[in-house]
């Protein structure tokens, strides 16, 4: 590193350390990190001061519910602190703390001293931009690494992928900070830079959330028309120009709201266990066999349409079986949804003389909403219990069939929870969940992670270049 560059970074570092808002934020970060060292979530309960006192989870049911899971509690806490506080309020604080970096450098008197040195104006501007990013990087690293160490030592939970969130915060801020730099150069006013950047950050988030909703609504409409479902088809009264404008804004503006989703996907890539079974066509993976069941045949990739996965009970209920297969949604020229498939099966079951029973309350994992039909076959004294679940995945339908001595619905539930099936049917899906599913490394441009990152960085780069161009033209 050249002495000049080192000098600029050192200057940035001193400027950051001298900043009062920075000091306030450091204190806030310590306040957030400290609880992870004082309190812990372990299997046996809520631990205070390295086991000085342990409160059983049953006593905290009012707070964490009956099915307390320390992993889940830690994860929720991490998401609340890093995603909720640092990712929004923290960014706003950081904007306030760094908005003056560039305008102050350009003030009369200060600019004369700095720009009369043998260093290019653009290099000096870039150093100030880096100072802002460095500011946030130090804070984010302190927060995330501090929490990680605290949770590891006290709660015994370590999720190295959590460290990726440092990158998320720095990435979001780096995008927003480019706006601050540009406004700072144009107006040479700290208050203007602060207000415009905050406004931009807020409006940019709104634009993308509205775009996600509009994109979701458009796809829902298309699907309903495709399904020829008159109940779901609504006349779209929104003028197309509005959709086009939203698209234009989405493609142009930095996609700050994607950052969290991208990191979540990265974390998944890193932490996901190898699947027990994977459907070669839909990519749906089954992580492990349900408790008490053994998979028949080979593990690994297979085509579930031609080679359904079968589990048999390992002990006890010898007649119990689980089958997972895939079939086309198009049947007799009609595209079925999971609801219509379940409806048709229920009619068939009733017609055969079996008794439909209520499905058990289902607490599925994220995105798992199979449509279930449960019934009891009328074959004498010990009527076996049956359940079939439908999950629609694009052009395919995943069918889960369970046969057990009793309560097949619960077995199906257990199967789904352990299998962590992917559900790609966007019908009725929550828009946020829908967008998370859509956003992928290989998806089309509008839902492509590389495009999201690339276009956001291009936007920030363009703003920076515009600021550099303007700076070069200033007469001090």
């Amino acid at each position: 590193m050249s002495p000049t560059v080192r000098a600029l970074f050192l200057d940035a570092y001193y400027q950051v350390l001298d900043n009062k808002v920075f000091r306030i934020l450091v204190v806030l970060v310590i306040v957030l990190v400290l609880p992870t060292f004082v309190f812990g979530a372990r299997e046996e309960g809520f631990v205070i001061l390295f086991g000085m006192k342990t409160v059983p989870w049953e006593n905290l049911a009012w707070l964490v519910g009956h099915n307390s899971n320390p992993d889940l509690i830690v994860e929720k806490f991490q998401e609340l602190v890093v995603g909720g506080l640092a990712g929004t309020i923290g960014i706003l604080f950081s904007i306030a703390a760094t908005a003056f970096f560039v305008p102050r450098m350009l003030e009369k008197g200060a600019a004369d001293v700095v720009f009369s040195r043998p260093v290019g104006r653009v290099a000096l501007l870039f150093a100030r931009y880096c100072a802002g990013v460095l500011f946030v990087a130090i804070l984010a690293a302190t927060l995330v690494v501090g929490m990680h160490v605290g949770l590891l030592l006290v709660s015994g939970r370590s999720d190295p992928a959590f460290l990726w969130t440092i990158l998320t915060i720095v990435y979001i801020f780096a995008l927003v900070h480019a706006v601050s730099v540009l406004v700072g150069v144009i107006t040479r006013n700290s208050v203007a830079a602060l207000l415009v950047t905050m406004l931009f950050f807020t409006l940019n988030g709104c634009v993308h959330n509205i775009w996600i909703l509009s994109d979701y609504a458009r796809e829902q409409g298309d699907l309903a028309r495709n399904d020829q479902d008159p109940d779901a088809v609504h006349e779209d009264k929104v003028p197309p120009i509005l959709y086009h404008s939203l698209d234009a804004l989405h493609f142009t503006l930095p996609k700050t709201t994607d950052a969290d989703l991208i990191v979540r996907k990265l974390r998944r890539v890193i932490t996901e266990r190898p699947a027990l079974l994977e459907d070669g066509v839909t990519g749906t993976s089954v992580l492990e066999s349900p408790e008490g069941f053994e998979l028949e045949g080979a593990t690994g990739k297979r085509d579930l349409e031609h080679e359904p996965a079968r589990w048999k009970a390992s002990a006890g209920d010898s007649g119990a079986s689980l089958v997972l297969r895939r079939e086309a949604r198009l049947l007799d020229g009609k595209r079925r949804s999971k609801y219509t498939a379940a409806k048709a099966l229920a009619a068939q079951v009733t017609k055969s003389g079996a008794t439909i029973v209520a499905s058990p309350d289902f607490e599925p994992g994220p995105g798992l909403h199979p449509e279930m039909v449960c019934w009891t076959e009328s074959t004498g004294g010990s009527a076996p219990s049956c359940a079939t679940g439908f999950l629609s995945l694009g052009d395919w339908m995943l069918v889960l069939e369970v046969r057990a001595r009793e309560n097949a619905g619960r077995e199906l539930q257990s199967l789904v929870q352990r299998m962590r099936l992917d559900e790609n049917d966007p019908r009725g899906m929550d828009p946020a969940r829908w967008y998370e599913r859509k956003l992928s490394w290989t998806g089309p441009l509008r839902h492509n992670i590389f495009f999201s990152i690339g276009s956001s960085l291009v936007f920030a780069l363009l703003l920076f270049l515009l600021a550099a161009w303007r700076l070069k033209r200033i007469d001090f």
């Binding site: 000098a7 001193y14 003030e107 009369k108 008197g109 009369s116 260093v119 290019g120 007469d475």
Partner: protein, 313 residues
């Protein structure tokens, strides 16, 4: 004159007004100038004459509208030339979050000083400006005079060949002012070329070899101090005791006799008249303490030139 360090030809600067660069006003209007090596060059002019604009063009801080500028044989837009230039701006604002020593280190590094030399240079400059004791304090805690002195140190930290000083003694007390003057003279003796922009004409008169007077963006006058402050022809006599019949005693010698406390002033045409005047006084038993040919002060010359031009803009 030795080789020119600054060479400006037909320099023009038009400041435009408004967002779309509407018609503005010319800050510099065809200025041509050459500054030789090792001289102390004074730049004078009323407010708005274009002095600061000219210096800033030399430093690449302001873009010229027209003309050519060569500094140390390079274009003034070339950032590398600024390695050899020091600058103390008027009303400068140094980074208040740094200590004096940190600031000097920062600017030494930014100016491309070798790492091994920086510590020595910092101590040397702190000693020069008398700021060694306060070097560990933050600049934001410095008084105006201290800021001016540490500002001078930053301008000299990379040992430049050419130094621009814009109102260097502004806000500095008389002792500090004298110290700055001494520094300037010491630099001059070392062969550093100095470009001094000051409103304190006495200071300029004491330090500068050559002076340029700017007005309304144009050079009004340029020359050595002797050229700009010619003798008036009057001579001031300081006497032990002023005789009561002074007018009759000096009758027929010179003109415009002006009695003054402790002496008088008389306009004389030549040295012969001066001899005659001294002879008359001595023969009348008057003790002469001093005889001083009167010349225009820079201030008088400066104000006179502006009046002739019709006053400042």
């Amino acid at each position: 004159m030795q080789a020119s360090l600054i060479r400006a030809r037909e320099l023009r600067k038009l400041y435009r007004k408004g967002l779309f660069g509407g018609e503005g006003f010319p800050a510099l209007d065809g200025v041509s100038l050459e500054v030789g090596r090792g001289s102390v060059f004074g730049l004078l002019g009323p407010n708005g004459a274009g002095k600061t604009t000219m210096v800033k063009i030399f430093l690449g801080l302001v873009h010229r509208t027209h003309g050519e500028v060569e500094i140390l044989g390079q274009s003034c837009e070339d950032a590398s030339v600024r390695r050899r230039i020091g600058y103390l701006p008027e009303a400068h604002r140094l980074p208040g979050y740094l200590t004096g020593r940190q600031m000097l280190r920062l600017f030494a590094q930014m100016s491309g000083c070798a790492k091994s030399e920086i510590d020595d240079r910092i101590e040397k400059q702190l000693e020069l400006v008398g700021m060694r004791d306060a070097a560990g304090r933050k600049i934001s805690e410095y008084s105006k005079g201290m800021q001016q002195r540490i500002g001078l140190a930053q301008a000299l930290i990379h040992e430049p060949e050419l130094v621009f000083l814009d109102e260097p003694t502004d806000g500095v007390d008389p002792v500090g002012r004298m110290a700055i003057r001494e520094i300037v003279l010491r630099l001059k003796n070392k062969g550093v070329t100095l470009f001094l922009n000051s409103h304190l004409l006495m200071e300029v008169e004491m330090i500068c070899d050559r002076v340029v007077i700017l007005s309304r963006g144009k050079i009004l006058r340029e020359g050595t101090m002797a050229e700009l402050t010619p003798r008036t022809g009057s001579v001031r006599f300081e006497l032990k005791q002023v005789p009561a019949d002074l007018a009759s005693l000096l009758a027929g010698i010179g003109s415009a006799l002006v009695p003054q406390p402790g002496g008088f002033e008389l306009a004389l045409n030549d040295d012969a008249e001066l001899d005659r005047c001294i002879d008359r006084l001595r023969s009348a038993g008057v003790s002469i303490r001093a005889v001083q040919p009167r010349k225009l002060s820079l201030e008088e010359a400066f104000v006179g030139m502006l009046k002739d031009q019709g006053g400042p803009r």
